[in-house]
């Protein structure tokens, strides 16, 4: 039944898994958290990036993480274009943008899903690399290498993005545009340019995140649906736009998921992220570390 060792195992794995969830949520924390774009297609973009990594790994034998880096520029451009379309058709026109913006991104997510199915089929796909499949043993505890890799890369990604937003000129501009777009316009900067750039970065980060996704577990085209819950749960719980908060919230989610998994079994797992998301929205919509608005 219940044992302390089992719980400790779950917490350890949960922390690692949580860091991975942080990595896949960072982009959304930027695009939705800071820029207020109702980016429901974020998980679909993520799965698409995973398939890009899969393609390079399967056909050219490129290491998944390297493949993730290679597709990053492509994703950046894709993000720039996506934001431009969104801006021209919705934000610029103003009224009623919310309803149709959400519908737009849902439509895009669906199109990506089906295109992936048509191209790669509905089967699960995975990548091969030397660090996948092995495990690290500490006493009785067995920690898969793939989670450790995900953990290390995710931590590095979070730190890099936090530094980018706080130390570089463009990063500060992004945070400024999130706070007061009008003020930025009055100072002679072009807020739309900055937001477009930020959305590009948010999408580019998905290259590495997508690589981690397919390293941690096999992917299938409709995987994005369960990641809607996970990514939005993390971003909303973190309080919109807080990078450090994203990491903490993701670890909470990771630990909660593994504990539920160990105690109640895998069939309850999907409800954890969505249930927490619902609870956070109902009880504390500004998130754990959020700015009050």
């Amino acid at each position: 039944m219940f044992s302390f060792d089992l719980l400790l195992d779950a917490v350890a794995i949960g922390v690692l898994l949580g860091c991975f969830y942080a990595a896949v949520s960072l982009g959304l924390s930027l695009s939705f958290g800071l820029l207020d774009v109702p980016h429901v297609a974020h998980p679909a973009f993520l799965v698409m990036a995973s398939y890009g990594v899969y393609f390079l790994n399967e056909n050219y034998g490129i290491d998944p993480l390297l493949a993730g880096l290679l597709i990053t520029p492509l994703l950046f451009v894709f993000g720039l274009v996506a934001y431009r379309i969104y801006y021209e058709t919705f934000e610029k026109r103003g009224s009623d943008a919310g309803v149709r913006g959400i519908a737009f991104f849902f439509g895009v997510a669906f199109i990506i899903e089906v295109l992936l199915i048509l191209q790669f089929g509905v089967d699960q796909r995975s990548v091969t690399a030397s660090y996948i499949g092995k495990a690290w043993r500490i006493g009785d505890m067995r920690i898969p290498f793939r989670l450790l890799v995900a953990f290390a890369v995710a931590a590095a990604l979070t730190i890099l993005l936090t530094l980018y937003l706080s130390r570089t000129f463009m990063g500060r501009a992004i945070r400024a545009v999130a706070q007061d777009q009008e003020a930025l316009r009055l100072m002679g900067a072009n807020p739309i340019r900055i937001k477009q750039w930020a959305f590009g970065i948010a999408t580019a980060v998905l290259g590495i995140a997508g690589a981690l996704l397919i390293i941690v577990a096999p992917v299938e085209p409709t995987l994005d649906r369960s990641y809607i819950g996970r990514t939005f749960c993390v971003v909303v719980m973190a309080g919109l736009g807080s990078m450090a908060g994203t990491l903490v919230a993701a670890i909470i989610l990771g630990v909660a998921e593994t504990i539920v998994l160990t105690l109640f079994g895998a069939s309850w797992a999907p409800a954890v992220s969505f249930g927490m998301l619902l609870a956070v929205l109902a009880v504390r919509p500004q998130g754990l570390f959020g700015r009050r608005s």
């Binding site: 429901v40 919310g98 519908a103 089906v114 819950g229 969505f274 998301l277 619902l278």
Partner: protein, 319 residues
């Protein structure tokens, strides 16, 4: 009753008579199989628009309500062998209750937060049903159709007619709401919720009413699906495809008028049936997604909006 009202009820009666006549004359089963699905989407789209269209709250929980409708029917059929009418009525009652609870929980949120919360609720309910052994769990459950009663000689024909009745009910309610103070209040809060609240529109209460009615209708539309398929499993009953299809149908038809979702549902539903049969169900979902994106980008008011634009042009041309 004014002239429009009389015309509407004459139209509804003619529609029901035609549906009944079809079941008596046509021997081939396929039109009923396909027609049932289209009618089901008409009910769902019309019900969705009561909250999504008039009030502008994008509800992604259509599949939650639909699935709960399906499983209400499954449970009643398995536990008590309840007849179809009882299944539908109970589903409607549970849908209303669910709309109320879900509304209380989520209707204070706005925009994307409401939409995300409704998806979250869908998955939570789906997971709960998946873990409910009595109704089959993840593996699903087989159902036996009872004997069919006269004047129908086939169960699917009867379900077709029942769904046609639900269409008339849903459209009549939606039409009533549009023209009543509820509809005007909902439209006011869609345009500016704060301003509406300040001028004395009871926004939360109106949204709750809309959510309850919309939920009851969606659950009722889902209930006959159990007997239609003779099978139910959580991942197809709660499939997000229902949410996206219904959203697409409503937005493509146009939500400014009660007829919009009907046009959208018939158009898209028929296209889907055609594509699923002739090409594949994947392509069918692709077409749905592309049409949704095209319409929200290029024709935000839907087909209703396009018709109005053409009319305005014409009257300007004459003047």
């Amino acid at each position: 009753m004014n002239r429009n009202g009389i015309l509407f009820w004459i139209g509804a009666t003619l529609f029901l008579a035609a549906a009944l006549l079809m079941t008596q004359v046509i021997g081939n089963q396929y039109p009923f199989f396909a027609g049932y699905v289209i009618l089901q989407f008409v009910v769902l789209a019309v019900a969705w628009s009561i909250l999504g269209g008039y009030a502008g709250y994008v509800n992604f929980g259509t599949s939650a309500f639909f699935g709960v409708g399906v499983y209400t029917a499954v449970f009643l059929a398995k536990a008590f062998g309840a007849p179809l009418a009882v299944q539908i009525a109970t589903a409607a009652a549970i849908g209303a209750l669910m709309g109320f609870v879900l509304g209380l929980l989520t209707l204070r949120m706005q925009g994307i937060f409401f939409s995300i919360a409704t998806i979250a609720a869908t998955i939570v309910i789906e997971t709960t049903v998946t873990n409910w052994r009595y109704v089959g769990g993840a593996a699903g459950i087989q159902l036996q159709r009872p004997m069919v009663t006269a004047p129908f000689d086939n169960y699917v024909q009867m379900l077709f007619f029942v769904q046609a009745l639900l269409v008339v009910l849903a459209v009549a309610i939606s039409r009533y709401i549009q023209n009543s103070w509820i509809g005007h209040g909902l439209k006011a809060l869609r345009d500016d919720e704060l301003a509406a609240e300040c001028t004395g529109v009871p926004t939360l209460r109106l949204k709750l009413v809309a959510c309850v009615i919309s939920g009851a209708l969606m659950c009722a539309a889902g209930a006959p699906a159990a007997m239609y398929l003779q099978y139910a499993d959580p991942s197809s009953a709660f499939n997000l495809n229902y949410s996206v299809s219904v959203l697409a149908m409503s937005l493509i038809g146009g939500t400014a008028h009660w007829a919009g979702p009907i046009i959208g549902a018939i158009l898209l539903g028929a296209t889907q049936q055609l594509l699923t049969v002739t090409i594949s169900s994947e392509v069918n979902v692709l077409v749905l997604g592309v049409m949704l994106v095209l319409f929200v980008v290029a024709a935000p008011q839907g087909i209703i909006g396009l018709i109005r634009k053409v009319r305005r042009h014409r009257s300007e041309g004459e003047a």
